[in-house]
Amino acid sequence: MVGGYATAPLQNGDTILLPERIGELTGLDGFGVGGELLATFLAAFVIGNLMLAMTGVAGPWAKRKITAAFTDRIAVNRLGPGGIFIILADAVRLLSKELVVPENADRPAYDLAPIVVAGSALLGFAVIPMGSGVHLADPEVGLAYVFAVSGIASLGLVMAGYSSANKYSLIGGLRAVAQNIAYEIPLVVTGMSVVIFAGTLQMSEIVAAQAEPLVSFAGLDIPRWYALVNPFAFVLFLVANFAEVGRNPFDTPEAPTEIVAGYQTEYSSVYFVLIYLGEFLHIFLGGGIIATIFLGGPAGPGPAALGIVWFIVKIWAIFLLTQWLRSAVPRVRIDQLIEIGWKGLLVLSFANLILTAVIVGVLA
């Protein structure tokens, strides 16, 4: 496996998914459907925990350190090197807090909302090829699936908003819906322009299509990443994605200082952790989608076995960008946000679709 950009880590046809590999390694594939199922569960367990571990690092530690760097501070530095063990301390702290449930909360919905928010994001990672063989499933409608499941999160936000019996939560929940509807359409339409390029919805194929060199000079190959082929679509998708995950300048559903904490105002202890987990997972899922359809997925210099490393680097780059915006960019007002979504991004995303069709037509 001699590396380089030219080597696609997941070649069409010979894709080996994680469950199959686990089945082979453990010998579970000899046990028929039951073994296959168990292998799939194991694979899902591995991928889920990988993502949760990343969130665990990001939430209590990395976010603090990054924000501190932007704002001239030091942040956590007492426990362990660079304060990294604050993760453990925070885990204990958050889990041992009292769970306060409002008297008038609409119980099943109130309890389900955090699980829906966190779960929907985790589901999305199932179809994302992370390189080094870490890829749970590769359905033909991968991209549509990922948009669909990440859209479920809005449901969780509405549930959290109305079931908390708090007016701030209600406003936050309503804002979340308005925002997600306004930005999901440009997001999907912009995603479609990638489909036009790649000619498929299958994630592995989209990655493979980006592996070929776009141009090459002085022996250096510039890969055919769609961010480079169509930067316009890339920027549109980035912007819509920030609204989709509710981060500055589009964090109106939470809007601290305005509506306290929006839909999550009444959540404490483990529920709070779950909602926050869901938010971070969504940022990472957004990063994962961007990395997959615009940044060549796990592609990068070095052997293909390093794919997962490159993939995580790309996700964290997107995460870093959200934190940068959070530190430096004000929040738009809700009416401005809706206006930008419907009058700006939607129009631009359709323009981009037509542009893409023309480019593809000319290239063909």
């Binding site: 701030y168 500055n248 809007a255 601290p256 200082t257 305005e258 530190s327 004000p330 929040r331 809700i334």
Partner: protein, 561 residues
């Protein structure tokens, strides 16, 4: 101790703090008010006229329309042994040294006065406070509720026969319940929302009773008083010499030093205390540092309201504030409650070695322009920030005057009014600096005013440092001789104002011949600036309500006193 540093006063300019040469034309006023004047009253700061309780509106309208007195700076209610008095302190936005005082004397058994609210909107809150604390009723007042104390409070704390020992036993049912389950009227499609008293954007304990129609603010009613400590009474219990100025630090606690001057100025005027020129320079310089403290915090917390999280710009504000605090700590020995002012001067000279401290200040001032540029890059130059702040929270100049708005709030509405220049005190009129105004009338203009005022403060400090550096060593008198026990003549009363970071802070003092004031009244700029909030927020989005509140830069310690 400060007393040991006292030396023979040198270089004192007795007229310095009493520049009244272009005062109001008394004869013209007398003839204008001849029909209404019962008799004249003696006030140190302005000609006083005693008028009838039912002539208040007419006289105010006459003074406003015929003589240009468009600023009802303060309303002082008080109780004497034989009567109540409601004193109106009027002045002009265009000419601060033109002052007139209207005294309404009310019988003991029935303290009822005509309301001034139809002429000056700002009288609304003034009169509510007067009713709350002293018990004077204002006939025709549109909203005669208590303002600082709870609705259910019994008695009026600043009356002479008020029993402080008596417990306030009030059952919970007598209180308005802010969390009662349903505020909704049948058929209404609005939502009642309590913003505060515990809310991230109220910058303290402020409660906004808000009615929302979707995201739009239909009505907002500020409910204040959570931090009320009856500072006025505490000041009345203290002695002039040392026990009042420290309280001033507790009013606007984000920029304390300018407050101290308000007290010092009023008492010095009352007792004819002179301040050495050298001390005036020290005062001027330290107060401008104090103003910077306030403005850095105002801009950074406003950014917090618009950005929504502890962001870079907030930390920039904290970073620069920290440097100023270090400088003031070296100067005063304190980081928050400075108590640097003494009657007749200040507590100490510059810390030794002087050169080192002056160097430290100069370093800060040298770096300031680049830091202010950072604010403009990150904050006022940001397109989204402009989208959020320009044309939101609009406060028209006429409305601002009606509500008695002062300070950066008024200057952001294009009102060229600054007590430092218009009624000069300290060393201000010897120095080169400008009053900053912006015509935007919106949230953006108020931020710009504050940022530009930081630069003006820097100019003032720089000139003061030059003066201090070259001041002859044997003429550095930091305090004049002030009697240890100060007993101004009985019956003298005065109302003096200074410009603090938030606007015009006024202090009314009346002496009864003892060594503590018989009446001490504080006119807080935050109080009046906040009263204009409904004008700025009604009909706007709830996000802009929060931004407008932030741009008013209120400090609840100063609002509630």
């Amino acid at each position: 101790m400060s007393e040991q540093r006292q030396r023979e006063p040198k270089g004192i300019d007795p007229e310095y703090d009493h520049l009244r040469e272009d005062g109001v034309d008394e004869e013209r006023l007398e003839s204008l008010l001849s029909e209404y004047t019962l008799r004249r009253d003696e006030h140190e700061n302005a000609p006083g006229f005693v008028i009838r309780p039912d002539d208040v509106q007419e006289v105010l309208a006459l003074l406003r329309d015929e003589a240009g007195f468009d600023h009802l700076s303060c309303l002082t209610p008080q109780e004497y042994e034989d009567r109540y008095e409601s004193i109106l302190h009027l002045t002009k936005y265009a000419n601060r040294t033109h002052e007139v005082t209207l005294v309404v004397q009310l019988p003991k058994h029935e303290p009822v006065c005509q309301t001034a609210e139809p002429v000056f909107r700002t009288a609304d809150w003034h009169e509510r406070e007067a009713f709350d604390l002293v018990g004077i009723e204002y006939e025709g007042h549109p909203d005669p509720r208590r303002i600082l104390l709870p609705e259910s409070w019994q008695g009026h704390p600043l009356t002479l026969d008020y029993d402080q020992e008596k417990p306030q036993v009030v059952s919970y049912t007598e209180h308005a319940n802010p969390i009662q389950p349903d505020h909704r009227e049948a058929e209404s499609d609005t939502m009642f929302l309590n913003i505060g008293p515990h809310h991230p954007a109220t910058h303290g304990v402020l409660h906004l009773e808000t009615v929302l129609d979707g995201e739009t603010v239909v009505d907002v009613d500020p409910d204040i008083g959570y931090l009320h400590r009856c500072e006025e009474q505490m000041c009345q219990n203290g002695t002039y010499r040392h026990q009042i100025i420290p309280y001033a630090d507790r009013w606007d606690y984000t920029a304390n030093l300018p407050n101290e001057w308000a007290v010092a100025r009023a008492i010095e005027d009352l007792a004819d205390i002179e301040v050495p020129e050298y001390a005036q320079i020290l005062r001027t310089m330290s107060v401008e540092f104090g103003r910077m403290l306030g403005h850095f915090l105002a801009v950074s917390t406003f950014a917090l309201d618009v950005y929504g999280d502890f962001t870079a710009i907030f930390q920039y504000g904290m970073r620069d504030r920290e440097v100023v605090q270090d400088i003031l700590e070296d100067l005063t020995g304190q980081r928050m409650m400075f108590y640097f002012f003494r009657l007749g001067g200040v507590a100490w000279d510059l810390p030794e070695p002087r050169e080192e401290w002056i160097e430290k200040c100069r370093d800060f001032l040298d770096e300031l322009p680049s830091k202010v540029d950072e604010y403009h890059d990150l904050l006022t130059g940001n397109e989204i920030f402009q989208l959020r702040t320009i044309n939101t929270g609009v406060l028209e100049p006429e409305v601002a005057k009606d509500y008695g708005c002062t300070g950066p709030v008024a200057r952001g509405s294009g009102i060229d009014y600054d007590v430092r220049r218009d009624d000069p005190y300290g060393y201000y009129d010897e120095l080169e600096w400008d009053v900053v105004t912006e015509d935007g009338c919106d949230n953006h203009a108020r931020v710009l005013v504050r940022l530009r005022e930081v630069e003006e403060s820097a100019k003032i400090i720089e000139q003061c440092l030059d003066l201090l550096e070259d001041w002859p060593e044997d003429e550095r008198t930091v305090q004049s001789n002030v009697p240890r026990t100060l007993k101004p003549d009985a019956g003298t009363e005065t109302y003096r104002t200074v410009e603090i970071a938030k606007g015009e802070l006024g202090v009314y003092v009346r002496s009864d011949g003892s060594n503590s004031p018989a009446r001490f009244k504080i006119r807080s700029p935050c109080f009046h600036n906040l009263s204009a909030l409904p004008e700025m927020a009604n009909g706007e989005y709830v996000a802009d309500l929060i931004a407008s509140l932030g741009s008013l830069d209120i400090v609840l310690g100063s609002v509630d006193r």
